[in-house]
């Protein structure tokens, strides 16, 4: 059943392949069904959605999508999510690549201690640290601010570690050559090392963006003002005044979820590589 791909190009539809493809198709169908149901619900009228369940709406309407977009909250949260995720991604890339490079290529007093401290950070998460992290941010006066959402997401020990490993694996010759030509450390970093690191940086960037876009727990803790909420947080805590209207709930969910899925369709291989690379780096 698990024939590796060593077949000649002509005979690809072997019985084994047909069987495998059928299994894959069946599994994919199961995995897509919830999304299809959400889409179908979002196109029903509220009354139809709670009548006897069925896949094809009798009365196809985009009313719920329009209502969700008009209500103003979701577009507003969309902007907030974008602001937070973009800032987080940029800052993480900057901070983590600098630190990774610093650990991989430079020497300074206390480096082993700091490196160990960073490694220890792999064990902390907002889930464990939530309450004291909140009081810390509170005492900095950053509750209900964009910075309160952004900055605590910008100290990812894991990303530093991944980039540290990556910079260690880069051959030194190029940097040395540039150094002999009189370039300084910072210039070498920005003009030679960073361009060489694009695959790793985009992996870290993609992973960070997804994580930040979908981050629920921390924004949930630190924002109370619905004006400032991100999509996941807003969707979970702010309710429609008119009660649970399933079609609207599903339309809102799809609006929150679709952008990343669309991006995924277009940049599939990069994202797959990015996620796998970032994940595998933990090995």
């Amino acid at each position: 059943m698990t024939t590796p791909v060593v077949r000649k190009p002509r005979s690809t539809w072997t019985p084994a392949q047909i069987a495998l493809t059928l299994v894959a198709a069946a599994l994919s169908l199961v995995w897509l069904a919830p999304l299809a149901w959400a889409l179908s619900t979002s196109l029903k009228t509220p009354t139809e959605s709670v009548l006897s369940p069925h896949w094809i709406p009798d009365d196809l309407t985009a009313e719920s999508w329009r209502a969700v977009l008009d209500a103003g909250n979701i577009p507003n949260w969309f902007v907030n999510s974008l602001v937070v995720s973009v800032c987080v991604t940029f800052l993480v890339l900057l901070v983590a690549s600098l630190a990774g490079y610093g650990f991989a290529r430079t020497e300074f007093r206390g480096k082993p201690v700091l490196l160990a401290l960073t490694m220890a950070g792999l064990m902390f998460s907002p889930a464990v640290l939530g309450v004291p992290l909140f009081t810390t941010v509170q005492s900095l006066g950053m509750v209900d601010t964009y910075w309160g959402m952004i900055l605590p997401q910008c100290a990812p020990a894991a990303m530093v570690y991944i980039l540290y490993k990556f910079f260690q694996s880069l051959p030194k010759e190029l940097e040395e050559a540039a150094f002999i030509d009189g370039a300084g450390r910072w210039r070498i970093f920005f003009t030679i090392v960073l361009p060489l690191s694009k695959p790793s940086l985009s992996a870290v960037g993609i992973f960070t963006f997804i994580a930040s876009w979908n981050n629920f727990l921390w924004p949930y803790m630190v924002t109370n003002n619905p004006d400032l909420m991100t999509l996941p947080n807003g969707i979970a805590t702010v309710q429609n005044s008119f009660g649970i209207v399933w079609p609207q709930l599903m339309a809102g969910g799809l609006i929150a979820g679709l952008p990343l899925i669309v991006v995924f369709v277009f940049f599939q291989s990069q994202i797959v590589r990015g996620v796998a690379h970032t994940g595998l780096a933990g090995q």
């Binding site: 060593v6 495998l20 630190a99 309450v131 803790m221």
Partner: protein, 313 residues
């Protein structure tokens, strides 16, 4: 300089010019601290300070408003040991982990094998299996809350049942497990897929020449080559599952589930901190979770060290 030599197992180079450049290169390294400074400012503020603060708070009766804080010694810890809800919620998180991790690992491996071995539409399988991972947890929670509705949800519609999934104790946790499997299996699937693609092709070709059947190749080449990645997937899943929060609270509207059967440990910590306003007590019980997570992480490191030593003979 010495670290430079250790770290870079460079092929031996001869030019004297390079040597002197290396020497200068080494001297300039002294200022490398600036590279890590921005990270450590943020890390200090948002990891180290909270850790220390959490430890301090756990010995106080601090509340959310930050006023009237008094030192209470070990009271919080003493209370935690007697608190039934600490025990129950910890059990729920562990229970969730025990259910969800094996299911995810097996499903992810199966999906990866399928996607790896099919010749046609691989991009499509990859898209279908991975797409749910891109949804925010709140969306996943709302979605499955809807899908599990007893009379008009998809699950009962497809199965032809009328199980009240979310309102009875016996299925409440199962519902979260199903939602989580659907949502997060894509990530482990990708890791497995990448690992499968990294297995050198020639191993299979050699085995085929030796007349090994496909099952034998699976058992003797694929499975052993996936041992490392399975360790990684397991560790990542266990750590993430012990910290389960998002999908559970959204599916149960931030409540404790039927007969309080789905309140997870993180949920209980946050309830104590942000609903009962007991920041001190919440900090103390957070430490329990931290100790468990640290134990898992350190245990894995220790296992890996053994293996690395074995690998280097």
């Amino acid at each position: 300089m010495s670290t430079l030599v250790q770290a870079g197992a460079l092929p031996s180079r001869t030019a004297a010019a390079t040597d002197s450049a290396r020497a200068r290169w080494g001297r300039r390294f002294q200022h490398g601290g600036w590279f890590v400074a921005p990270f450590f400012v943020l890390y200090g503020l948002f990891v180290i300070v909270p850790v220390v603060r959490g430890l301090y708070l756990s010995f106080t009766d601090a509340n959310i408003s930050g006023e009237h804080t008094a030192f209470v010694g070990l009271d919080n810890y003493r209370e935690a040991l007697k608190d039934d809800l600490v025990r129950d919620s910890l059990w729920h998180s562990v229970q969730f982990t025990l259910y969800v991790v094996p299911v995810i690992v097996v499903t992810a491996l199966l999906m990866a094998l399928i996607a790896h071995h099919t010749v046609h539409f691989r991009w499509l399988w990859r898209l279908c299996f991975f797409a749910p991972f891109l949804l925010p947890s709140a969306v996943v929670g709302n979605l499955w809350w809807w899908l599990f509705q007893p009379t008009n949800g998809m699950v009962n519609h497809v199965l032809g049942w009328d199980t009240p999934w979310l309102t009875q104790k016996s299925t409440a946790m199962l519902a979260i497990v199903v939602a989580t499997l659907w949502w997060t299996v894509g990530f482990s699937f990708l890791l497995y897929l990448a690992a499968l693609q990294n297995i050198p092709r020639h191993l299979y070709e050699a085995a085929e020449l030796d007349g090994a059947g496909s099952l034998q190749r699976l058992l003797h080449i694929t499975v052993p080559n996936l041992r490392n990645i399975t360790g990684l997937v397991l560790a990542l899943q266990v750590l993430a599952s012990l910290q389960v929060f998002d999908q559970a609270v959204v599916m149960y509207q931030f409540g404790p589930g039927p007969e309080e059967s789905t309140r997870t440990f993180v949920q209980y910590t946050l309830e104590q901190g942000f609903t009962s306003y007991r920041v001190g007590y919440a900090s103390a019980i957070s430490l329990i979770l931290f100790l468990i997570i640290a134990a898992v992480a350190l245990g894995r490191m220790w296992l890996l060290r053994d293996r690395e030593e074995a690998a280097t003979r």
